[in-house]
């Protein structure tokens, strides 16, 4: 079980897209179990990122800013200590 050799690594992303990509990398490249990855607002506010992305960014009438752009999206992952180096290679993931 060795739960205690587990560390939590966190990273903040300015768009939902980037956060999703980091989650995919963690699961597909590093083999991290999806239930060990948490996605949440980096602040106390509900947010979809700190800048528009995806459909909002490429909107026909220009970028939309009416989404909940109230802060970054935080991805945190509980991993075994020996996975730290591999996970930190994923853009922006750092231990805390």
């Amino acid at each position: 079980m060795a739960d205690d050799s587990t560390v939590t690594i966190r990273a903040s992303f300015s768009t939902r897209e980037a956060a999703d990509l980091a989650v995919e990398h963690l699961v597909q490249q590093q083999g991290v179990s999806r239930p060990d990855i948490f996605v949440q607002s980096a602040t106390a506010e509900n947010t979809s990122g700190s800048r528009a992305s995806g459909g909002d960014a490429s909107h026909a009438d220009g970028t939309r800013h009416d989404g909940a752009l109230d802060g970054d999206i935080e991805v945190s992952v509980d991993i075994a200590a020996d996975q730290i180096a591999a996970v930190q290679r994923i853009s922006g993931m750092s231990g805390r």
Partner: protein
């Protein structure tokens, strides 16, 4: 430390000139805690390694560098583990834990207790502890002795409390008492999978929320009014404005999709968005449940 500093300086001169080359050259960057012995071992093993002041790390050139460095780091770790185990073993001999639940094994302590949630939680707090499903025993390496020692009183007490005879004795004492009747009523109420909700503060349906029973998903708000007097025994703060909501336990995929709240809920809240601390153990339990289901269904 002096040697380390000197080594670092020696290489810093050439480092400035070769930084760009390092970026392009095949090889592996490695950093480790600085102590003289480790640096000497490293220098012997990797004579072509260079110190990079900009990276504050060593650079080992070569296409197979990553593999060789990985092997060396693993050896280093194994050596450190052996030393820590010997230290833990000495500590145990000097100040042993004497208990019928603990035995000595080849690589560490073997712990077998009656089932207890407290024992499991306490043992999970101990670094490198491991549950052996086949032997139904906990393994704790010698290196974790200090942590085991500090958790042992709670483990021992919980184990004794959960001995079959002790449980039987408590059950006998409870029989026919008001406490037992109350507990049965509470259990029956919970099994009805309903929950009183303030009609002006209803939770979203089909989302994971926390209530007094843990994390649940509300599937329906029936609109039926709650009888505050009859329900006062089970729920606090129920008024005539409360209606019944029906709930079910969330599945693993639903727990995974849930975004945790950044801040804990207010005191006395009837329902709330769970925090990461609430979600983590529930997700793990749900995953264990899914794994168990797969195993029982004959999956590899």
């Amino acid at each position: 430390m002096e040697t380390v500093a000197q080594l670092g300086r020696c290489h810093s001169m050439s480092d400035e000139q070769t930084t760009e080359n390092l970026e392009a050259a095949p090889g592996e960057t490695v950093s480790f805690p600085f102590d003289r012995m480790t640096v000497e071992q490293f220098r012997t093993r990797f004579p072509r390694a260079r110190w990079s002041d900009t990276r504050k790390a060593w650079f080992v050139p070569g296409k197979t560098a990553a593999r060789r460095v990985g092997r060396w780091l693993a050896e280093l770790e194994a050596e450190a583990d052996a030393f820590a185990d010997a230290k833990g073993r000495d500590a145990f001999e000097f100040d042993p834990i004497e208990s019928c639940y603990l035995a000595l094994g080849k690589g560490g302590f073997l712990i077998r207790t009656p089932y207890s949630r407290t024992v499991i939680d306490e043992l999970r707090e101990i670094p490198y502890s491991r549950w052996d499903r086949d032997q139904k025993i906990w393994h704790v390496p010698y290196r974790s002795y200090q942590e085991l020692r500090s958790h042992w009183p709670a483990i021992e007490e919980a184990a004794r409390r959960n001995e079959p005879e002790e449980r039987r004795r408590r059950a006998e004492a409870r029989k026919g008492s008001e406490e037992e009747a109350k507990s049965k009523r509470r259990s029956a109420e919970r099994k009805r999978r309903r929950y009183p909700l303030a009609s002006d503060d209803l939770p979203p349906l089909d989302r994971v929320v926390g209530i007094q029973y843990g994390l649940v998903i509300f599937t329906e708000i029936t609109g039926e009014l709650v009888d505050p007097e009859a329900m006062a025994e089970f729920y606090r703060g129920v008024t005539e404005d409360h209606v019944w909501g029906l709930w079910r336990k969330p599945r693993l995929d639903e727990l995974v999709r849930t975004w945790p709240a950044k801040v804990a809920h207010a005191e006395g809240a009837e329902w709330w968005q769970p925090t990461i601390e609430e979600l983590r153990p529930i997700r793990r339990a749900a995953r264990r449940g899914e794994d168990r289901k797969l195993r029982n269904n004959g999956a590899p």
